[in-house]
């Protein structure tokens, strides 16, 4: 199995209606099992790229690779792509089509041809795993935003994908449900599922992601570890992103001489705390 689960080679795509180039020569590789944060202004091409990754949009030019093989756009091929690459859309009301929670969740797995008996077990399993059981019998329209989000994630999880794409999962969620989603994402990552997440939260991205992809005007401006991306202040400025809080505090502490400039600039609060912890230890050893 190749190390790269998904690859994009010179992808170009324009929408029919306005002819605008939504994706302009996108080149990317996603490592299997990694956590990748996609950042960039609205309209920079993130959502369009995601829709290419599961075969909804077919690029005008360029090639996409899944597990090292070019995308197969035949009926069977598309079904395989969609089983392996699942998208949780930003607005659950744009994803949930059934008024019944269990029917909604069963849709994906039945489309994969799984027989009804096993499908029911899978659906029940996912419902329990995501603690949907308390509101399982309520109609979709009576669910809160956070509950709808849980159902929309269950929709995808039941298909056992290799890659899960989350398009701004925490937008419009209350703190409780944001935490539920974040914990779930961590669990899934530990199981080896590759996670792509579009987010505007640079602090979260730097703490969570293995890699950050900055998109701008349909192009990949920068792809790298959070530290690499944060050091590229030009790229950050172009995508209207501020430096993460940890970096700003770090720079202040360096300026005051509390911390020495280090090669590994801390980009998350956790790393910053570790750097501060080291201060006492260094002093002790002097």
């Amino acid at each position: 199995m190749s190390e790269m689960i998904l690859q994009a080679e010179n992808i170009c795509f324009s929408y029919e209606e306005d002819g605008r180039r939504a994706l302009d020569n996108v080149n990317l590789s996603i490592k299997r099992g990694s956590k990748v944060a996609f950042m960039g202004a609205n309209g920079s091409g993130k959502s369009t790229f995601f829709l290419c990754l599961n075969g909804i949009h077919r690029p005008d030019s360029g090639t996409l690779y899944l597990n090292g093989k070019p995308f197969d756009y035949s009926k069977k091929g598309l079904l395989d792509i969609r089983r392996r690459v699942g998208i949780v859309f930003q607005d659950p009301d744009n994803q949930l089509f059934s008024a019944s929670v269990s029917q909604e969740i069963s849709f994906g797995i039945l489309n994969l041809g799984v027989p009804e008996g096993r499908a029911k077990e899978e659906v029940d399993g996912v419902i329990e795993r995501l603690t949907i059981t308390p509101f399982r019998d309520k109609p979709t329209h009576a669910l809160s935003g956070g509950q709808k989000k849980q159902v929309s994630i269950a929709d995808i999880l039941v298909m056992h994908p290799d890659v899960i794409i989350l398009d701004e999962p925490a937008s419009a969620l209350d703190p409780k449900h944001t935490r539920i989603v974040n914990e779930l994402v961590n669990q899934l990552s530990q199981e080896g599922i590759t996670i792509l997440m579009a987010t505007h939260d640079i602090d979260y991205a730097c703490a969570w992601a293995d890699e950050i992809v900055l998109m701008h005007d349909g192009n990949v401006l920068k792809q790298g570890t959070p530290a690499e991306v944060c050091r590229d202040t030009d790229a950050l400025e172009k995508t209207n992103l501020e430096e993460p809080m940890a970096v700003r505090i770090y720079r202040k502490l360096c300026a005051k001489g509390v911390l020495g400039p280090a090669e590994d600039m801390p980009v998350s609060m956790k790393e910053l705390e570790q750097s501060i912890d080291k201060i006492g230890k260094d002093r002790k050893s002097e």
């Binding site: 829709l51 998208i87 089509f97 008024a99 994906g108 109609p139 298909m159």
Partner: protein, 256 residues
């Protein structure tokens, strides 16, 4: 907010077998309409009241309000049935107006009473179905009786989308109201029209996104979903069969 929809999810009869409920409601409805019998209508009204309010635990106040919804139509239409304008007076009453009479016959008054009561009984059957069965379950029954697949799939989607659009419409109207959009007739007409137009535009945008989401999960032209069903209890089946046979006998005997 659609009251009937909200209530059916909390009915105590929600988890009884949907086919049994459907068969009971439709058959009873038909017998009431065929026989137009006052006796049968009274019995059906009582039974449905007990089932819906007693067993289903639908609040009586709401049930009474719902039962009165058809009142305006019934009064107006039946009024038209029993009032005649003719040159010759009929036997129940005749009020002279110039050389004509406003008149009605005893037979038609009797018929009107039967019509009104049996219509209300029929409505109570419809309410039994709608207040104690979720739309999802009703669609399951329609699918089982081989209703065309495209119709059932459309109904499944439309049922969900109704609530998405209702929420959007409500949000737009609230926003308009806060800006005095409904302060007089002329402004109201314009605001309502604009809201409807915006609603339609949003509806179509969403339909595109929803299709993308369905296609992302392997939609290939058939909506496949698990149908939850609750096995019928023998006691329920027996009671329904006995009741319907009784109504059938009542029809044949032509009860008053």
């Amino acid at each position: 907010m659609i009251v009937i929809d909200k209530l059916c999810y909390s009915s105590r009869l929600r988890y009884t077998n949907a086919e049994v409920k459907f068969t009971y409601a439709i058959l009873t409805l038909l017998f009431c309409v065929i026989s137009r019998s006052l006796v049968m209508a009274a019995i059906v009204l009582t039974v449905n009241g007990i089932l819906t309010v007693g067993k289903g635990r639908i609040p009586f106040v709401v049930y009474r309000r719902l039962m009165l919804i058809p009142l305006a139509f019934i009064l107006l239409s039946t009024g038209a049935v029993i009032v005649n304008v003719s040159k010759s007076p009929l036997d129940a009453y005749a009020i002279p107006i110039g050389s004509w009479y406003m008149t009605g016959s005893r037979a038609s008054l009797m018929f009107a009473a039967r019509l009104i009561l049996s219509a209300f009984a029929a409505v109570s059957c419809l309410y039994f179905l709608s207040l104690n069965t979720t739309m999802t379950d009703i669609l399951g029954v329609l699918a089982k009786i081989h209703c065309p697949q495209m119709m059932v799939e459309l109904m499944l989607l439309i049922y969900r989308f109704i609530f998405v659009l209702t929420q959007t419409a409500s949000a737009i109207q609230t926003s308009q109201k806060s800006r005095l959009g409904y302060q007089d007739f002329k402004t109201s007409v314009r605001s309502f029209g604009q809201m409807a137009a915006v609603l339609f535009i949003r509806a179509l945008k969403r339909s595109n996104a929803l299709y993308d989401a369905m296609e992302s999960r392997g939609y290939d032209g058939r909506i496949r979903v698990l149908q939850e069903s609750y096995p019928p209890k023998r006691k329920e089946i027996v009671l329904v069969v006995l009741f319907e046979i009784a109504l059938l006998v009542g029809c044949i005997l032509q009860l008053p």
